[in-house]
Amino acid sequence: MQITLTINGADHTLDLDPRVTLLDALRDHLGLTGSRKGCDQGQCGACTVLVNGRRINSCLSLAVMHEGDAITTVEGLSDGALSPLQQAFIEHDGFQCGYCTPGQICSATAMLDELAAGWPSHVSPSLDGPCELTEAELAERMSGNLCRCSCYPGINAAIRDAKGHQA
């Protein structure tokens, strides 16, 4: 099937079997290997990308279903300079092997937007907000991203730092 995907602001026309996931289209057909394949079944978050500003697992989505969507991968988060989150991950040692990192950063980027929009989480005491980014909130909101190296202290510090910059 011929489809056009809009990735990091640029259109790419591809001839794809409908079975190709968004993740495989990015990695194997477009050479955008920032998005990682950990489990390929929605359980680790390494493949997280942004679709129309929202975080999703690209391993559980078909590329052909994303025509017309604005897709942002980790490669598209920096325009010349690193994004505040990317910079904060470096400063706070938010990784060890780095395998989960692009997914963590894409996920956290959208998570901070969800927080700003007042979305509650499972651990929010009230559904009406306000939502403070407590330890419990951070852990819950980022629970879709596993880190095999267990760099959670650094990851959490980086996200807090970036949120501070954003505020």
Binding site: G45, I56, L60, S61, V64, M111, P120, S124, L127, G144
Partner: protein
């Protein structure tokens, strides 16, 4: 994954027509279907994409809300009307999956997600739900994640949804469009089928039947609680979950609707439990009694024995919170 044709339906009639074809399946968020297709547990020859049918709106209707079938779980959980008047639904949704998955998972797809029985996923083991008549590997196998109510000798799988448990306690209705163009609605009480000797038939849907929306009637109780117990604090399916919708009047329970997850092949409700609670004054003895009523006839299989004491503790705790 087995090859398939992909069709992006332009309207609901075209979707139903295409969905009625042999081997066709609807795809919405894809978070359950693609997982199963990768393992070839499901192998539809045609996928009908229902994400661009305009079924992504939440509209007010008759004091309630009509929720389009493709409204993402995240939007539904965050909707200010849901948060205010149907908080048990927000809570159930937020207790499920992860932020990423909730952005893709849809209302219709969540209702129709398949069981997480590990043998259903493992095509090397017999499973009556996957291949009717093959046998059930769970019986005599690992049963930590199995049902203890409503099962049959052919299948003990449970329905894994959190959202559906809240919807059942809220007396929601599922609206369906048929390939002939007719619309009909099912109460949550009548939408799912028990396994019996046909565990592969899970709902009242016929080929090509498209879930178009879920109707949430005006809430009958303002005290709403969702509690989920699981093996880790987040991003895990329920071992047991309970949705309680209660209204108190003058110290008595005027309305009680209790939904249960992790216990049965469908989001569970027991009219005797609801009836026993209604009209009475809350007490520890009453709560223990309704736990007895719920669990009469429960059958465990070894790995899931723990669900009995777990329910005996969880149900009173939830009822205490909801009636306090």
């Amino acid at each position: 994954m087995k090859p398939f044709d992909y069709l992006r339906a332009e309207n609901t009639a075209a979707a139903c027509h295409a969905g009625a074809g042999r081997g066709a399946a609807f795809i919405a968020g894809g978070t359950n279907l693609l997982d199963l297709m990768k393992l070839e547990v499901m192998a539809p020859g045609k996928l009908v994409d229902v994400t661009r049918l305009g079924l992504d709106r939440i509209e007010e209707e008759a004091g309630g809300l009509r929720i389009g079938a493709t409204v993402p779980n995240s939007d539904l959980a965050a909707d200010t009307r849901i948060r205010r008047d149907w908080p048990v639904l927000s809570r159930a949704l937020l207790a499920g999956a992860s932020g990423q998955l909730r952005n893709k998972a849809t209302t219709g797809g969540n209702l129709l997600q398949r069981t997480r029985c590990p043998y259903f996923y493992d095509t090397d083991t017999p499973c009556n739900k996957r291949t009717p008549g093959e046998g059930c590997a769970a019986l005599g196998g690992e049963t930590r994640n199995h049902a203890i109510l409503g099962t049959s000798e052919h299948c003990i799988a449970l329905h894994p949804s959190d959202m559906a448990v809240a919807l059942r306690a809220l007396d929601a209705q599922v609206e369906v469009q048929s390939p002939e163009g007719n619309r009909r609605a099912y109460d949550m009480d009548n939408f799912y089928c028990l396994p019996g000797d046909t565990p592969h038939i899970e709902t009242m849907l016929e080929p090509g039947d498209l879930v178009t929306s879920v109707f949430l009637p005006a809430p009958k109780g303002d005290r709403q609680v969702y509690r989920k117990v699981r093996d880790r604090a987040s991003y895990a399916f329920a071992l047991v979950s309970i949705a309680a919708v209660i209204r108190m009047e003058g110290g008595r329970i005027a309305h009680a609707a209790i939904g249960f997850g992790g216990l049965a092949p469908q989001p569970w409700r027991d009219i005797e439990v609801d009836a026993t609670l209604t009209g009475t004054t809350p007490s520890a003895a009453l709560f223990d009694k309704v736990a007895d009523i719920l669990l009469q006839g429960a059958e465990t299989h070894g790995g899931d024995d723990f669900k009995i004491p777990l329910v005996r503790r969880l149900l009173p705790a939830v009822l205490e919170e909801a009636t306090a």
